[in-house]
Symmetry: none
DNA sequence: AAGTATTGTGACAGTAGTGTGACAGTTACG
DNA sequence: CGTAACTGTCACACTACTGTCACAATACTT
């Protein structure tokens, strides 16, 4: 997964530091010194994530963020704001402009990387519109249908999203909180045990085809979707 | 969650101030005046966070940070650098050495505490998620699975954490008290002999693959995970 | 060799974590 | 509207795990 990351920053020293760290982590760094060249780069090829400085020579970074959010094509590109100001109001403005996260200068490279990864991880699942297949299961996001060994599965909306998430994130264990974040959304206020109930409903729907064994409980940790 | 914080600072006045603030916030303060004693403290028991002064009598703080980052066992311990210098180059150097954050003297106690909490919050949830391998053993925290020469091991939650700790802290002997701190958590009230029982359960699970020999008893001291 | 300290082991009750059925409130849709 | 589907929550059942003990086995001391 070599994501393209667009760095918009005018100070050469910081620009260089960013590029160094980003490439170090296996991402591809695309550099821009101002909003004008950033826009050009975006038009050339959509990046997977934008690291955007607050202060830029031509137009404020927030303004670019707003523009990107207004455009259908760039709406879903995650943005991390890079700002020197620390007072709360600026932070809120940065977020309300559509940034997914922000980080204040001076920043620690480790923290920056952690946030980049977190944002990318959060974004990735919703980009996949392709049909997912695994172990006789076939889930198609576009037609909203699931097949288990040829016979259709009847799932509710939540169970569908849950199964879709599991199939695109197989093997890994997810805690109830993580599943709530990923499947329900990271803002909702729902009991963690609700996850259990939907897991059960998913298993119940998968039981006739014998596929329910794929949804596994990891006691003390959460759940896992696995073919073994 | 009373985290252990190691304070490495030579000036007695600041050392005291740090210790006061840290304990005030419910953390346990471990004090060291130089790199030598800091290293000794780290070897005795791994702290959850290190507050590291830039200038120290024996070795520069950055050097200690680099060393800690190079060692497998201490790689994931968050470090906050404490520095009087404010010019940008020093900051970058401090961060590239692997510090998670830094704070310039003179600092406000509130800011210090905020950073400590932020770093801890960021660190705590993830216990080094990388797959650990040793001698035909393969433990993956993300999938929550253990393989011993290809065949899966069935471990309870505690045995899993115990093995994970051992594999990431191989060769070294740990007393029962230290194991309770590191694997159970430093707040729990549990008999020391309980460790013995879990060691036995771990060995029992590893026995079919012949891996139980890796968990060794050091009479009078504790246990050790070793490949020899 | 006996005596003492330390560790291994089996059993067991209590408990935390999970499965499950039922139900009321909500939304979707004809 | 009225009905059907879906959602979130609860109470209860059930299971696996935990911590502790008593006693056996072992290593060390004198």
């Amino acid at each position: 997964m070599t994501a393209n990351i667009l760095l918009v920053e005018d100070e050469p020293a910081i620009q260089e530091l960013l590029a160094f760290n980003v490439t170090q982590c296996g991402f591809r760094a695309i550099q821009a010194r101002d909003v004008a060249s950033a826009t050009a780069e975006i038009n050339r090829a959509l990046p997977d994530l934008i690291l955007l400085d607050w202060m830029l020579p031509d137009v404020p970074g927030v303004e670019l963020a707003r523009r990107l959010r207004a455009d259908q094509r760039t709406r879903n590109i995650p943005i991390i704001m890079l700002t020197a100001r620390t007072d709360e109001r600026d932070k809120v403005m940065g977020l309300e402009s559509g940034a997914d996260d922000y980080i204040t200068k001076p920043f620690s490279p480790r923290e920056l990387m952690a946030r980049i990864r977190a944002v990318l991880r959060r974004r990735m699942p919703q980009m996949s519109e392709e049909t997912v297949r695994a172990e006789g299961l076939e889930l198609s996001p576009t037609t909203h249908r699931v097949n288990a060994n040829g016979s259709p599965l009847d799932l509710g909306p939540t169970e569908f999203r849950l199964l879709h998430f599991f199939m695109t994130h197989a093997e890994r264990v997810y805690s109830r909180a993580q599943l709530l974040d990923q499947v329900w959304g990271d803002h909702v206020f729902v009991e963690e045990r609700t996850v259990d109930v939907h897991i059960r409903r998913l298993r119940q729907a998968m039981e006739p085809s014998g596929m329910d064994r794929l949804v596994q409980t990891v006691r003390g940790s959460g759940y896992r979707f696995s073919t073994s």
